[in-house]
Subunit: 452 residues, 2 copies
C-alpha cells in the first residue's frame, strides 16, 4: 500500500523494461497508485516510459498521465498518434483533466485528438473548457457533477443520480437547480441518505450557496476555498447557470504553485525549476537575475568612482562598503516580503499608502538606530576615527530607512498597476538598495570630511 | 452572500457596538459566515470584540473563535471565565478545534475548562487529543467520524449513521472497521446511496485504505494528501485501530504555513508576522537577522582591513567590492532556495551529495563565466587596467562557484541533522558569502599585483 520509491526499484524496473520481460514487477507497478507510477515515470528515460505505458491498464494510464511532470508528459505524447491519445487517454479522463492535457498540445494535434474522441459529450465539454483561460474558474473546473431539480422527489433524485454518478468518483455535494439550470442551492449526500423516504428536494435543500463566475481568477478562488474551508465550489455563468465545479485538489496545486512562485522570485529564480532539471534549464532560470546583479554592481562601481577623491583621502571608507550594501539589501527584502505576503493573503488591512510608509519608517528607524549605535561603538573603539564612525552610523540609519520605504513602496506600486509584486523582492530590490546605499554612504562621507 | 469587508463597515459597526444599540447591523453580522465575522473581529478593539460576541449565537460564536487570529483570540479568552469558555464555545466545537483552542490556554485554565465541559465524551476526546504534539497527525485529527462494522447490513449502517452523523458536518468517507476497531476499508456515501437494499458492508466496501499513524508529522501528511488528492485521511494507532481523521481544510493551512515560513526565512524575518502587526512585533521579527548582517559587515570590514596595503596601492579595487558581495549573495540564495524547495517537495531525486555539488558547480561555472566575460570586457574598456580586470573576472568566477556550492551544501547538511534547511537561505547565506567573497577577491587581487 505505502510505496516508497528507491533508486534500486528504478534500476530493477529499467532492467525489466529494457530486457522486454513482462515480469511480476510490471504487474506490481500496475497495482500502484497513479501518483506513485507517475513518480516512477519521472525517473525513467522517455523510451522506458513508453514501454511502461504499454503495460498499464487504460484507466490507470490516463490517471498517470495527469500526474506526470509536464516535460515527461510532453515527450510521451509526442510518441503517440492523435487517435491513441484520444482513445487510450482522453476517453478515460474527467473533462477538466482532459482539457488540461489538450491545452498542452499543438493546435494541429489538438484538433486531431478532438475529432478522434469517441464520447461526443466529453468532446463537447472539452471544447467548452478550452475556451477559458487556464488559471480561471473555467479553466480549473470539471463539467462532471451531480445536479437535481428543486421539484424532484428523493426517489427521482436517486434514479437520476444513478445515471449521473457513474463517472464521478467524489460527489461531495449535490447541486440543486431550477428548470433553467440556475443554481439555487445544495444538498448533501448525508441529508439524502438520512431523509425520510417521502421527502422532496425542496424540503431538504440548503438555499445558500457560494459560487464563482467562470472568469474568476485562480488565486481568488484559492483564497475563497481556503477561507471558507470548502472542498468543492460550483462555477456559474453570467446568468447564474451551473456550468461546472472546482475541487480542492486542484486548488491545493494552485496554492502550492503561487507560494513557490513567490519564493522563487524572492530567491532570484525566474521560472519554475527544481534541482533535477538540466544544467541548461537551471542556468536559464538563474542567469537573468545574476545579470541584473552584475549591472547593479557596475553601477555601484560608477558611484564609488564618483567619490574617488574622497576614497583616496580616506581609504578606510572602503571597509564598510559591504556592510552598507548588505544592510540595505536585507532591509529591502524584509519589507518587500511583508508586503508581498500581505497582498497574497489579502491581509494588509485598511491603512493607506502613507500610513503604511509611516509605520515602516518607524520600524526601520528603530532597527536602524539599534544597528547604528552598535556600529558607532565598534568604529569608535576599533578604528578610533570619529569622522568614519559618524559617517558609517549616520549612513546606516538613512540606508535602512530608505531601504524599508523603498521595499514597501515598490511592491504596492507594482500591484496597483497589475504587475506581480513578487518581482520587487529578491535581486531587484537588493540591487537597487545597493546602489542607493552607496550614494548615501559616500555622500555623507564626503560631507563629513568637508565639515570635520 | 458574498461579503466584502470595508473600512466604512467597520466604523459603522464600531459606532453601533459602542453606543450599545442592538441594531439591524448586528443581526446582519450574525448571518455572515464565521470566517467573515472573524475577519471583522480582527479589525476591532478587544472590548468591541467582547461586545460583538455577546450578540452572536452560541454555535456561530464557537465557529468564529476558531477562525480568529491567535492574538485576538487570546485577548478575548482572557476576558472570559473557564465556565463561559466551556459552555459557550467548547461544547459547540468539533474535538480537533476544541483541542487546538485548549492548547493555547494556560495549564491552570485548561484544567478548569475541561472540568466545566458538559459533554463527557467531548471532554475525554479533548484530553486524548491534547496528548499529541500540535503538528502531528494526532494534533490535527478530529475524533468525529462515521465508522461501520464490516458485518453490518446497510439497514444497520443507516441506523447507526443516523446516530453518529448528527454532529458531523462533512462526512466524505465512511470507515469500515472490524470488531477490534481495526481499520480495514472505506465505503463512500455514494456507494451506500446507490446500493441495492439487501447489501451488506462486506459486499460494498473498498479494502484498500491509506492511513497515517498518530505521530506522523504534519508536513508528511500534507505531502501524502496533496500527492494522492485526498480530502480526508484516517489516523490509526500502532495497532491499526481507527482513532480519528484529518480533513483537507486543516492541511491546506499546514501547506500555507510551511510555504510562508520558508518565504519569511528566506526574507530574513524570524517569526510569522504580517504588516498589520505592531511596530514592536515587526521589529522583533526583523532585528535578529539585521544583527547577523551587521556582524557580517563588521567581519567584511576586518577582511578588507587585512588587505589595506593592497587597497592603498590599488584603490580601484574598492570599486568592485559591492559587485563581488552582491553576486556571491545572489548565487547563494538561488542555490539554497532550489535545495530548500526540493527538500520541502521531496523532489530532489536520487543524486548523492557529490553528484549534486557537481551539477551545481557546472551551473555556477556557466553563470560565472558569462558574468565574468562581461565584467572583463567592461573593465578592460572603461578602466583600461588589466590587473584590475583580471582580478575582478577571476574572482567573480570563483565567488560564484563557491557561493553555489556553499548554498547547495549548507541546507543539505542542516536537513541531515534535522535542522530546518530554510535557515540557510536569506541573510545567513548572503552574509557568509559576502565575507568569503571578499577574501577571494582581495586574495586574488593581492596575488595579481604581486605577479603583474
Amino acid at each position: 500500500m505505502q510505496f516508497e520509491l528507491t533508486k534500486e526499484f528504478i534500476s530493477e524496473l529499467q532492467e525489466c523494461l529494457n530486457s522486454n520481460l513482462k515480469a511480476d514487477l510490471l504487474n506490481e507497478v500496475n497495482q500502484l497508485h497513479p501518483a506513485d507510477i507517475a513518480d516512477i515515470c519521472d525517473e525513467l528515460e522517455t523510451e522506458e516510459v513508453v514501454l511502461l505505458y504499454q503495460c498499464l491498464d487504460d484507466e490507470v494510464a490516463a490517471d498517470v498521465l495527469i500526474e506526470l511532470e509536464e516535460d515527461v508528459r510532453e515527450k510521451l505524447l509526442r510518441t503517440l498518434s492523435p487517435k491513441e491519445i484520444a482513445e487510450n487517454f482522453i476517453d478515460n479522463m474527467d473533462s477538466d483533466d482532459a482539457a488540461d492535457i489538450m491545452a498542452e498540445l499543438s493546435d494541429d494535434k489538438k484538433d486531431q485528438v478532438i475529432s478522434a474522441i469517441t464520447d461526443a459529450d466529453l468532446a463537447s465539454d472539452i471544447v467548452d473548457l478550452l475556451h477559458y483561460p487556464e488559471d480561471s474558474a473555467g479553466g480549473l473546473m470539471a463539467k462532471e457533477l451531480i445536479r437535481v431539480r428543486i421539484n424532484w422527489t428523493l426517489i427521482q433524485c436517486l434514479r437520476e443520480m444513478r445515471k449521473q454518478a457513474e463517472d464521478i468518483e467524489d460527489v461531495y455535494t449535490i447541486y440543486v437547480v431550477d428548470k433553467e439550470n440556475k443554481l439555487i442551492g445544495t444538498l448533501s449526500l448525508k441529508q439524502l441518505l438520512l431523509a425520510p423516504s417521502g421527502a422532496t428536494v425542496k424540503d431538504l435543500y440548503f438555499d445558500e450557496v457560494r459560487s464563482v463566475k467562470a472568469y474568476e481568477e485562480a488565486d481568488e478562488i484559492a483564497s475563497i476555498m481556503e477561507k471558507y474551508d470548502l472542498v468543492v465550489l460550483p462555477v456559474v455563468d453570467e446568468l447564474n447557470r451551473l456550468i461546472g465545479r472546482i475541487t480542492i485538489d486542484d486548488i491545493v496545486d494552485v496554492i502550492k504553485e503561487e507560494a513557490e512562485k513567490d519564493y522563487q522570485m524572492a530567491s532570484g529564480i525566474s521560472e519554475s525549476v527544481d534541482s533535477t532539471d538540466s544544467v541548461r534549464v537551471l542556468t536559464r532560470a538563474r542567469l537573468p537575475w545574476l545579470l541584473i546583479g552584475l549591472l547593479g554592481g557596475i553601477f555601484g562601481a560608477l558611484v564609488i568612482n564618483q567619490y574617488e577623491d574622497t576614497l583616496q583621502i580616506y581609504p578606510e571608507m572602503a571597509l564598510f562598503i559591504p556592510l552598507i550594501a548588505a544592510m540595505g539589501g536585507n532591509v529591502g527584502v524584509q519589507s518587500s516580503a511583508i508586503i508581498v505576503q500581505g497582498l497574497a493573503n489579502n491581509s494588509l488591512g485598511f491603512d493607506n499608502l502613507f500610513q503604511r510608509l509611516g509605520k515602516e519608517l518607524l520600524v526601520a528607524l528603530v532597527n536602524g538606530l539599534v544597528c547604528s549605535m552598535l556600529i558607532l561603538i565598534y568604529t569608535m573603539i576599533y578604528k578610533d576615527n570619529n569622522a568614519l564612525a559618524g559617517t558609517v552610523s549616520v549612513a546606516l540609519v538613512l540606508v535602512i530607512a530608505f531601504a524599508g520605504l523603498f521595499g514597501t513602496f515598490v511592491p504596492l506600486m507594482l500591484d496597483k498597476y497589475k504587475i506581480d509584486p513578487a518581482l520587487a523582492t529578491g535581486p531587484f530590490i537588493t540591487t537597487m538598495n545597493d546602489i542607493v546605499g552607496l550614494f548615501i554612504y559616500f555622500g555623507i562621507g564626503h560631507l563629513m570630511y568637508i565639515w570635520l
